[in-house]
Amino acid sequence: MTAVAEPRRRRLFRTQLRENVLGYLWISPWLIGFLVFTLGPMIASFAYSFTKYRIIKAATWIGVRNYVYALTQDDLFWSSLGRTFYYVLIAVPLGLLGSLLLAMLLNQRVRGEAIFRTLFYLPSLTPTAAAAIIWVWLLHYRIGPVNHLLSLVGIQGPPWLGAERWAIPSIILIALWTGMGGGRMIIFLAGLQGVPIEFYEAAEIDGAGWWHKFRSITLPMISPTVFFNLVLGIIGALQVFDIAYITTKGGPGRASWFFGLHIFSHAFEFFDMGYACALSWLMFIVLLVFTLIQMRMSDRWVFYAGSA
């Protein structure tokens, strides 16, 4: 909406007062919800993070002790953070790459593209709980079909979710199955299809090979979408919880004890609310740092083709 040359008639009924009153009236559901369910809780959790609060007794102020404890004495803090980083660093790029590759595959215009698109998309519709339970079975060391299929090609399948070294990769595998062909793939496909053919044709005339075309046309044109999904992907992956809780509960041992599980256990198993709030704010800080870094780096590789 431009504000430059407004016809006079608009001024007659679009008074600023009317705009303000009606505007706030219409957004009031969100404003109320924001104050009650977002901002209020954020302030509360920040305040509680400086207290010792276990529900049964009233909260007592302890200053930064929760934070100090987390950073220095809670051995699970750093390890769970590290495990979460490990998960993020592998799951997010693989997920993005996978979605992109699937989209590129579908973009080859094979016969029955719609059917394949459906096949790839359906897993993303599976409720996480159901997917987790099914995969626990699939990845069973002895009687699961995955290891059986691997053995047919001569590979000895690992104990997957039951092995310390394989717990997180197994969870990543499940996350990829539900995530790769989902909405992200569809968005990439739309993005790929939105690249004007003329660009490729012009490149071909100049003698560009497929790699060159990919690097100089395809990638830049879809880079905004990639960036958007990268940011959201990292935000989501840092909070990983559902799959881990259902399949391994953080085990075996603490092999898949993610930061989200750590917070959850302190809040809803030990009811150590003060400490849990402090942990959640630490996660928030980590998340903000990640996002800021990405935004800084985005100038170097994200290409905005005018108004897309």
């Binding site: 505007g23 919800g33 595959l105 394949f116 599976t126 409720p127 079909p145 809780y245 959640s280």
Partner: protein
Amino acid sequence: MTEATSARASAHVVTGARTRRGRSYWLGIVWRIFVYLFTLVLGLMFMLPFFWSLSSAFKPVEDLYVFPPLWFPRHWQPQNFVQVFQLTPFAQWTWNSVKIAAFSVVGEVISAAAVAYGFSRYRFKGRNVLFVVLLSTMMIPIYVTIIPRFMLFRELKWLDTHLPLIVPSFLGGGAFNIFLLRQFFMTIPQDFDEAAYVDGASSWTIFWRIILPLSKPAISTVAIFSFLGSWQAFLAPLIYLNTKEKFTLPLGLTWFRQPLMDSSEPRDHLLMAASVMVTLPVIALFFAAQRYFISGIVMSGLKG
């Protein structure tokens, strides 16, 4: 076809002479076959878990513990599905999930539309700031807000009810939904509003009779995503609900997985049947509304 090949093809027709196909032509065919096969294999791999769970849902329990694993049941046992209902409050869980999802969808659609209408149609003071605030709420980790929310609902005595899962939907309908609808509303020309206003329409009338009817695709998309989100939600129900009978389906499924104290009978075949039943509604919804899924995702992605 490129000009070269079509010229050759027409030459073929005219002269009847046999022309030699270039090597790149055969390479292209091989490539296409390879791509097709590769996609097919990938598709089958993606479907493997569905196939396995569906087949296991019909197996008698011993068939699941056989080595090597059986791909098809030896005897078909559809009673598994019935047994799920007998051993668990599955019907109640389904009703809970449906009820919560229905309320959530209605709440999110109405409030997101209203808020998006406000953000897109009215230039109120602080609008841009508030919109940025709205968008940045998508970056807040859920743990930061859900712990105090738990304490709030505890004060309100709403714990172990479905209210914490429903009420927030009516108050702001989800930041992404608002964003999506606002972008869509902005493509509707303001002239419609003004024409209606001149005819004496109120703000509400414009919203209800002009904007909403023109936004059916966007609204359907929001409704679908809202339903999906509610149906498969796990953390919030896990935190707020204690009584088994109040569980939603994902929660009930997870509960069902824990072995009962008194019975040591393996129930994995029933677990598979239950998982299938939990997944089926969304898949059915997809096939029924496929158009809206795809177009909605594309719209949300490109506008984002």
